[in-house]
């Protein structure tokens, strides 16, 4: 049994993969709490898809794919904030327009690239088993930075999410904080690209947080539970992937979905 548990981690690529998956699982789970509470699930999904043209352009220019994704994600996040400012266009409409435009642009660019483009498949579905030490360092730095900011700004983020009127009374810079939250979300999506790809990015954002929401009525506790669900899903998903032929990204998302269904059933049974 012990051998069965330890065997996967005798490989360096599995160690790297697990560490990356744990970091991404926790990061997405914590940011995901705001995604769920602020009803931004659609936005998270949109951002995940919107990074496609950035990646494609970076690929064409033979630049760094992560940098391309980052630029595209931040551009789309700011674009959504811009179009929906002062209610000119409703936010979900702005998201819908920019998301499909970016996705189309990405597909157009990719279809013009005449290679087998296995890198691009990895971008769509993740490549957690191909995480280099450099990738791992980048993921770790981003995760620590983003989580640090979320903890530091816990109180302002809580107030603008729960009670925008109080935020205004307290003269919090609401616009700035909303943009900042969007940018942190965009960065999180980019970081998760390597583990689960753009196709499944939204699942890691939403599923653990939604699970935690069913189990507690306090934000700090919700973040903690969500992080545990995210981390455990990553761990079990990696085992599942090692001992079966399921792709790691899909395995992780399926395990997280299992946790959500359990929590949902528990909530229903308890009334």
């Amino acid at each position: 049994m012990l051998e069965w548990l330890l065997e996967p981690w005798s490989f360096a690529f599995m160690q790297h993969g697990l560490l990356a998956a744990l970091l991404v699982g926790i990061l997405c789970a914590v940011i995901g709490c705001y995604v769920v509470l602020r009803s931004m699930a659609f936005l998270g999904d949109a951002l995940a898809h919107a990074i496609l043209p950035g990646v494609a352009v970076a690929y064409l220019l033979q630049g760094n794919l992560t940098v391309g994704a980052l630029v595209a994600a931040v551009a789309v996040a700011i674009g959504i904030g811009f179009f929906s400012r002062e209610g000119t266009v409703k936010e979900d409409t702005a998201i819908g327009i920019l998301f499909s435009a970016a996705l189309s642009l990405g597909v157009a660019l990719i279809s013009s690239i005449r290679t087998s483009a296995s890198d691009l498949t990895h971008i769509l579905f993740g490549n957690v088993l191909g995480v280099s030490s450099g990738d791992l360092l980048f993921t770790a730095l981003m995760a620590v930075g983003i989580l640090g900011l979320v903890m530091l700004l816990y109180r302002p983020f809580l107030v603008i999410s729960f009670d925008p009127v109080l935020a205004a009374t307290l003269r919090l810079p609401g616009q700035f904080l909303r943009y900042l939250m969007l940018i942190l979300l965009a960065l999180t999506v980019v970081v998760s690209m390597q583990t689960v790809g753009v196709g499944l990015g939204a699942a890691l954002l939403v599923t653990p947080a939604a699970t935690a929401y069913l189990l507690t009525r306090r934000l700090a506790r919700m973040m903690a539970i969500s992080a545990v669900v995210g981390a455990v899903s990553s761990l079990i998903g990696m085992y599942l992937s090692y001992y079966t032929i399921i792709a790691p990204g899909a395995a992780i998302v399926l395990v997280a979905t299992g946790f959500f269904l359990l929590a949902f059933a528990w909530k229903r049974v308890r009334g």
Binding site: R155, L158, V165, L166, A168, T169, R171, T216, R217
Partner: protein
């Protein structure tokens, strides 16, 4: 940033000079001017959509001013970050948000704490006292979504207390709550009077406005009348403010037919005897 306590020589007060504001081209507030002295309690009345909520949103800085000026303690709006508290209408809050009663009341202390300082004993004492005063200490650890409407309102009143405001704005605190919450709200007003907190309360209940407030502000986009209830609740003022909803009854004063409920469950509020001679 100047933080004046209510005790300093310049009295705590609120002045509006020809203030206009609104979301669209139609002004919700049209050149409204008035002054509230230190520690006064004002009932704001007027028909639905008369700009009562807009007025409050302007005062907390939630809505930009199109024209005119607002002064608090003689300084322009925004010079004081922590002296205006606002009790929102219950529909404006996301009740499914995972916060407890204590969490919400502690938010009232955020203005004093800034972005980063952790709550200290003084903050915790204020929260405990405020919860106690509104009679919801026993609910402190409950999720706000599990409370009744009246209890939810008390949570927001407790939060407003914890803010130690100089000016407190309450949007429709008497609508859709049980009698004991109405009573708790009224005794809170008494308490605030002894603390010299300036209070503005919007309400549909003209009887309550006439009986419980020393000043009434009658609003219908423009300021119709402002002063003692007896001077404000005159048939010509009411007719001007409520136009179509105003009926004159022979020999019995007047009736204002005012909608206080969402369309569909409409019921009529009869406020008889609002003529000056009765109030």
């Amino acid at each position: 940033m100047a933080k004046l306590s209510p005790e300093v020589a310049e009295p705590a007060r609120l002045e509006l000079e020809a203030v206009s504001a609104g979301y669209t081209n139609v002004l919700a507030l049209d050149s409204v001017s008035f002054e509230v002295p230190h520690g006064a309690q004002v009932a704001v009345v007027g028909p639905n959509g008369a700009g009562k909520s807009t007025l409050f949103k302007v005062l907390v800085g939630l809505l930009p001013i199109r024209a005119g000026q607002v002064f608090i303690h003689g300084q322009p709006l925004g010079a004081h970050t922590d002296c205006v508290a606002y009790v929102p209408q219950r529909e404006e809050v996301d009740w499914r948000f995972p916060v407890t009663v204590r969490d919400v009341v502690m938010m009232g202390r955020y203005g004093k704490q800034g972005w980063f300082r952790r709550p200290n004993q003084a903050d915790r004492d204020w929260v405990a006292r405020s919860l106690d005063q509104m009679g919801i200490a026993a609910l402190a650890n409950r999720a706000i979504g599990d409370l009744s409407g009246g209890q939810q309102q008390r949570v927001f009143l407790a939060r407003a207390l914890a803010q130690e405001p100089h000016i407190l704005l309450m949007d429709e605190p008497f609508t859709g709550v049980d009698a004991s919450t109405q009573e708790a709200t009224l005794s809170l007003l008494e308490e605030l009077k002894s603390r010299h907190v300036t209070v503005m309360v919007s309400t549909h209940d003209l009887t309550m406005a006439a009986q419980r407030f020393e000043r009434v502000l009658l609003l219908n986009h423009r300021l119709v009348a402002y002063g003692a209830p007896a001077d404000v609740f005159k048939p010509e003022n009411l007719r001007q403010a409520f136009s179509g909803q105003f009926l004159t009854l022979e020999g019995q004063g007047a009736v204002v037919v005012d909608e206080c409920c969402p369309p569909g469950e409409e019921h009529l509020h009869d406020h008889t005897g609002q003529g000056g001679e009765h109030a």
